[in-house]
Structures are given as C-alpha cells and as structure tokens.
Amino acid sequence: MAEINFTKLLVHLVVLVDVVLLHVAYATYFERKVIGHMQMRMGPTRVGPMGLLQPIADGIKLFFKEDIIPAAADRPLFYAAPIICLVAMLSCLAVLPFDPNHVLADLNIGLIFIFAMSSLASYGVVLAGWASNSKYSFLGGMRSMSQVISYEIAMGLSLVGVMMMTGSLNLGQIVAAQAASPFGIYAIPQFIGFFVFVVSMLAETNRVPFDLPEAETELVAGYCTEYSGIRFSLFFMAEYIGMIVMASIGTICFLGGWNGPFTVPYVPFFWFLLKIYAIMFFFFWVRATLPRYRYDQLMDLGWKFLIPLALANILLTGLMKTVLE
C-alpha cells in the first residue's frame, strides 16, 4: 500500500518537475518574443519554425559551456548556492493546486510554506554573491537580500486579507472559498491587497523595475556575474520558476485559481494555465516598459508605502468582515 503510493508520488513529482521546466524554457521564448515585438523587433526566429526551438538550443549551449570557478571563490558555497536557489523554488511547486485533483502535497499551511521556501531562495542569491568573491556579485547579493526581506513582509501582509476572507491557508480551500464568494475572484474585493501583491511580486522575483540585484548597467550581472554554463542556468531556471510560482500564487489567491467562466472539457487546468500566462505576460510587459528604480526609492516604496498600505488593507478587511457578519 505504502509502496504504491510512493511510486505514484515519484511519478507525479517527476512529471511535475519536467512539465514546469519545459514551461520555464518556453517562458524565456515567450519573454523574448513579447519584449521583441514591444520594441518593434522580432525576437528569436532562426532556430526551428518561428524560432520555436530556441530554448532547446539555449539549454544545450549552456549545458556544454565551460564551468568556470573563480580561483578566489569559496568553493563549497559556490557550488551550493545555485542548488539552494533551485531547490527552494522547486519545492514551492509541491503545494500548488493546478486543478482540483492535482496537488502533490495538500498542506494546511500551503501559503506559509511558499513564503518559507521563497525566503530561502534569497540565501542562494546572497551566498552566490559572497562566494564568488567579486564586488559586483557581492553588491548584487546584498541588494537582493535586503530587497527580498523588505518585500516579503509587504507580500505576506497583502495576502493576510485573503487569508482572513477564506479562513484557511490551504491553497485548494482558498480557491474553493473564492468560487463561493460573490465576485468569484478576490482581486475585486481585495483590490488593495492585489495591488500590493503585484508590486511586491515583481520585487520578490527580482524583475524589472526592481531588478537591482542584477542591474546590468551597474553590476554586470549582479550575483551571477561569476557563474557560467550549467550553474548559471540553474540560477536562471530558479528565477523563472520563481516567476511561475508567484504567478500561481496570484492566480490562486486573487484570480480564482482553476475556476473560469465556463469549464473546459478534458483540460481541467486550462484556466489556471491561462491566468498564469496572463500574469507572466504582465511580468514581461512591465519589463518592456519601465526603467529601474533607484535603491533608496525601492526601500522607500517597500517600507513607507506598501507595508502601511497592506496593513490598512488588513484593517479594512477586518472591519468589512465584522460589519457584514
């Protein structure tokens, strides 16, 4: 009995990781196409029809590139950093409900678990920065660390409103409660929370306009300056999985998860995937539009604006809840 469950779990795990990594690969293609067209370019067109094999080619190239380790690097940490990043991000996937029947681990503290794991990912980044023994990497790592800590608070607080309305931290139950709510999605009653979530989502994943940890113009490539080949691609994958995880949280907590205006037969995860890709498109769209924030502006925005706003949202939600009941 236990053994059967174990093999089933393993198969589920392998399929999940593979599917997500494929999505990561094609998210890069999607990003390059979207940003290309927004800048009136074409994006990848050469490898395969419409450049569709470009991610595969990139993967092969990165895999076979030389793995350079700086002489002054702290080797064990240098090796461990990208793995910490990737593992932390991959383990977030376990609690995400893609449709009512597909969730690897149906935890009661799903949301908190994701926070815990994404805060760990910042360790990978900061250790990469330190272990590389290069000033660019180090500055990138430090920036990333302070940014992630600051915005995690705002993000956690923005989701408290959702927790209050649902009364649960189980992601499946959040979606179910949302379907039963008058609007069907929490983005409307929780619009302040949604706004705070979206901004801190961008900051948490180190995306433009908050991409200070890897600001090309100042820091070469930030914390992954000294990384090359497959180790660099692990960081890259971690970043994109992070984006997918954040998009999933947004979908689950604010946009109604797998529920849609009508049910699509045979593809229960259709709406979930669509919403994730809508949010991913938003990531790329913002990247194509906005310039980078200055560091002190970033901190001001996080501490002086988003956190008070999220706290006000909690207060408002509590008030509304007591008034309505």
Partner: protein
Amino acid sequence: MISLSQLLFAYLATAITGLALLAVNARNPVHSVLLVLAMFFHMAGLYLTLNAEFLAAVQIIVYAGAILVLYLFVVFLVNLKEEIRVKRFVVSQHYAILLAIGLCVLLVSNMDSFALGISGPWTIEAIQQTTHIKALGRELFTTYLLPFEITGLILLVAVIGGLVLAREDKATTKGNSDDENAETKGVHQ
C-alpha cells in the same frame, strides 16, 4: 522496537547537536551562519514530527528567512574572512570541559524527574479539525491575551527604539543612507 518516528527524532536530535557544535567551531563566520541555517531546518523538522506544522513554517520564515539573514548582513559588513585568533578568556581549557561535563551529568541524572505536562483541550485531532492557525489564534487572543499583548508592547518598544536611534543618526550625519537598514533591524528584532 524502534519506530520510524523515533528514528527520525534520533536523526534530528543528533543533527541539531552536531550542526550546532560545527557552527560554533567553524572558522569562517559565513559557514557558521549557514550551519546554523541547517540547524534551524532540522528544528523545523522536529516541530513537524510534533504535528506543529505552523510553528515549523514560522521557524523557517522568521529565523531562517529574516533573523539569520540579518546576521549574515552583519557578518558581511564586518567582513571577517577568518576568525580572529585571540588568547583564551579562561586560563585552561580543562576547566571548561570539566564544567561542561558536570552540567551534562547533572542534566542526565535528573532525566527521571521530567514528566509530561497535563494535556490540554487541544489534542492532535482537535487541532486537525480546526486547523492549526485557527487554534493558535484563538488561544493567543483568549487564554494568552495578556502575555501576547505584553510581547507586542516589548516589540513596539524595540521598534520605537530603532527608529529613535536611526533619527539621531540622521541628525548628526546628514543624509546617511543606512537609516533604512536600521529601521529594518528594528522591525525584525
């Protein structure tokens, strides 16, 4: 017969002790912080075996995700590559070892007097029924309201203290950009 959970406990306990010792003995402060991080993970695992999943998650978020990161900040800012070797504080290492062994013997000899506390209304089943967070919240805001509020007050004092320190800093040295960091620390600790 040793059950699986006992085996798990044995592993976690030895890992916690071993990692703590390694963290104390590590030459490199960053490695030391990382060993503490691994130790926190094992502690979270220990909480999981006790059905305290919320506590496990909070352990990771607060200790690993926030406090330890701030330690890391400090270690980075001080920029110690290797431990500075200074003369021992105590005259001889032997006294310290003797003291530690004595303490250990004292603790082990009193093992029998450890007794299980009275089990309250929250059995595992009850907690699973009302979910962990609800149970925790209800207890915190009813039975333990006073201690909770006192803790809140103490933290508020710490926050205000941090803010005051940061402001004073601003008045003396104009435009110091470190005041945000000071605020961060104030809120976390």
